[in-house]
């Protein structure tokens, strides 16, 4: 059951007003333009034990994603494909409004939006991750943990997820007798990647559209639309992720805004990659 949240972050009415009236003038309280991201830091291979990982900081938001690899059986309807599972947790660690317990609907939605964009674009070439087709395949777990919540968790998480996949090295699978499979941790191969994707979340305040809202700005958003964009500029997923309404024109404008902003994000990813390779 989904329930109207009642434990929202408290932001003073004064601050809300000043944030909103600045946005109306095309300005942000932290000096940014409406279509500008906060400072972005991406550190790939942050967790040496994981097969892939990335630390991502967007303004005050900190997300660490990690990839672990195992061997398992494929899904019956895709017997020749590896399996990838995306999981996200909003631990109480990261925000006074996060509560202990199993993943809440916001974490589940975030993981599923990321999962769908990755899956639909075939970002990971799962067809290359069968070990014994129909019987044994690579199982990939992509776990996303939020450590500090300063707004815009989705874009940050997608950056962490994408960087993790792009820099992951998985152990080579060796088939032993009786179809036993061993992962050889000494010999690592890069994950087969087809494509890249980022997500740009666009918020609406008094009919203005902004990107990369802070956690305080999120309290004054009327409405939020997440748009996933592939590196070649196609729309690879959308999700209205809030109450509130959009007009058709606003949605089209949001898509344009997202497409434009995605370039910054791809540039950041590629910059991080260039330092690794």
């Amino acid at each position: 059951m989904s329930i109207t949240p009642t434990n929202l972050r408290i932001v003073s009415t004064l601050k809300k007003h000043s944030m909103a009236s600045l946005i109306e003038k095309g300005l942000r309280i932290d000096g940014r333009k409406l279509n500008e991201y906060r400072e972005i830091t991406i550190i790939p291979n942050y967790i040496a034990k994981a097969e892939g990982s990335a630390y991502v900081k967007v303004g005050g938001t900190v997300v660490i994603a990690g990839l672990k690899v195992g061997v398992g059986t494929p899904f019956p309807d895709t017997p020749n494909d590896g399996v990838i599972t995306v999981n996200a947790e909003f631990v109480p660690f990261a925000s006074p409004t996060f509560e202990p317990g199993p993943p809440d609907e916001n974490a589940i939605e975030l993981a599923r939006v990321i999962d769908r964009s990755i899956r639909e674009l075939r970002v990971v070439d799962l067809s290359k991750l069968a070990i014994i087709p129909g019987e044994k395949v690579y199982i990939l777990w992509l776990d996303i943990y939020v450590f500090d919540h300063d707004g815009n968790l989705l874009d940050s998480s997608m950056l962490a997820a994408m960087t993790t996949l792009l820099t992951a090295k998985i152990p080579k699978a060796v088939v032993k007798e009786e179809k036993n499979v061993e992962l050889n941790k000494e010999e690592k191969i890069p994950l087969p990647i087809n494509n890249k994707v980022v997500t740009v979340t666009v918020g609406k305040v008094n009919n203005k559209l902004i990107i990369d809202p802070t956690v305080d700005e999120e309290q004054i958003l009327e409405c939020k639309l997440a748009v996933s964009i592939s590196e070649d500029g196609r729309i690879a997923g959308m999700q209205k992720m809030s109450t509130g309404v959009f007009t058709e024109d606003e949605v089209l404008e949001a898509v344009k805004l997202a497409k434009e902003a995605s370039k910054t994000l791809f540039a950041k990813i590629n910059e991080a990659l260039s330092k690794v390779q």
């Binding site: 109207t4 609907e105 959308m238 089209l252």
Partner: protein, 244 residues
């Protein structure tokens, strides 16, 4: 993987169930189908069958779960175990948790929640047969059930999914089109106000395709809105729609 040789659009431009690309599936809508619920409705779109029940505004305990200036909404989207090809476990899946959320958020913008502070309005949707479009049928059933319960709303909600199959945009996709198509875009609107309350895209579209998909969806939504209004007037409508 799409089975070899499966064509979702045939040489005459028709879909697997004989529909034209811009044609809705047959629709049945019935209002007031349950005795206990304060409002209820049944919606059938093609082979998808959904029932919605509304309870409230009503009190809940403990009181600190309510809000002082508005009603809260509690929404459950659920598929019964026998609604799907393979039996679905009765426990809520991650998919059902997500859809309960997006449907709740859509309805929050439609209901005048500020009229009922410190109460809850409960919207329950049970999918009894699933053949694509369960969330859009579900939100329409919820909207009719809310109207039936006499809860003031800014507008009804009408909803439909546009898909891309074999490279072509099609309206109101069925299960086969959903499984083997390239994109599925469910959208819900307050039609007379021109406001989008739910929008998801699962798949890949160019910006231009997306624009066209929005147009196609809107046409379907205006038609479904008409049916909803008829259903509220007559309590029951059964329609085999022409192309929109």
């Amino acid at each position: 993987m799409k089975p070899e040789g499966l064509k979702l659009i045939n040489e005459e431009g028709l879909r697997v169930d004989g529909r034209k690309p811009d044609e809705l599936r047959p629709v049945v809508m019935e209002v007031g189908v349950l005795k206990n619920a304060d409002g209820s409705a049944y919606v059938q779109q093609g082979n998808t069958k959904v029932i919605a029940a509304v309870y409230g505004p009503r009190e809940i305990h403990p009181k600190h779960l309510t809000l002082p200036d508005r009603a809260i909404l509690r929404t459950r989207y659920h598929m019964v175990p026998y609604s799907t090809d393979e039996r679905k476990s009765p426990a809520p899946t991650r998919r059902e948790i997500e859809l309960s959320k997006v449907i709740r958020e859509a309805l929050e913008s439609v209901i005048f929640v500020e009229l009922y502070p410190r109460t809850t309005i409960d919207v329950f949707i049970e999918v009894i047969q699933a053949d694509a479009g369960t969330r859009t049928a579900g939100i329409m059933a919820a909207s009719l059930a809310l109207a039936d319960a006499g809860i003031p709303m800014r507008d009804l909600v009408a909803a439909v999914a546009v898909g891309k199959v074999d490279g072509q945009l099609v309206l109101d996709i069925n299960q086969l089109e959903d499984e083997y198509g390239e994109a599925d875009m469910p959208i819900a609107m307050m039609p007379s106000l021109g406001k989008i309350v739910l929008l998801q895209l699962n798949g890949v579209l160019t910006e231009e395709e997306f624009k066209q998909a929005l147009q196609l969806a809107k046409k379907g939504i205006m038609k479904l809105y008409e049916y909803e209004q008829q259903a509220l007037r007559k309590k029951y409508v059964e329609i085999k729609p022409e192309e929109v």
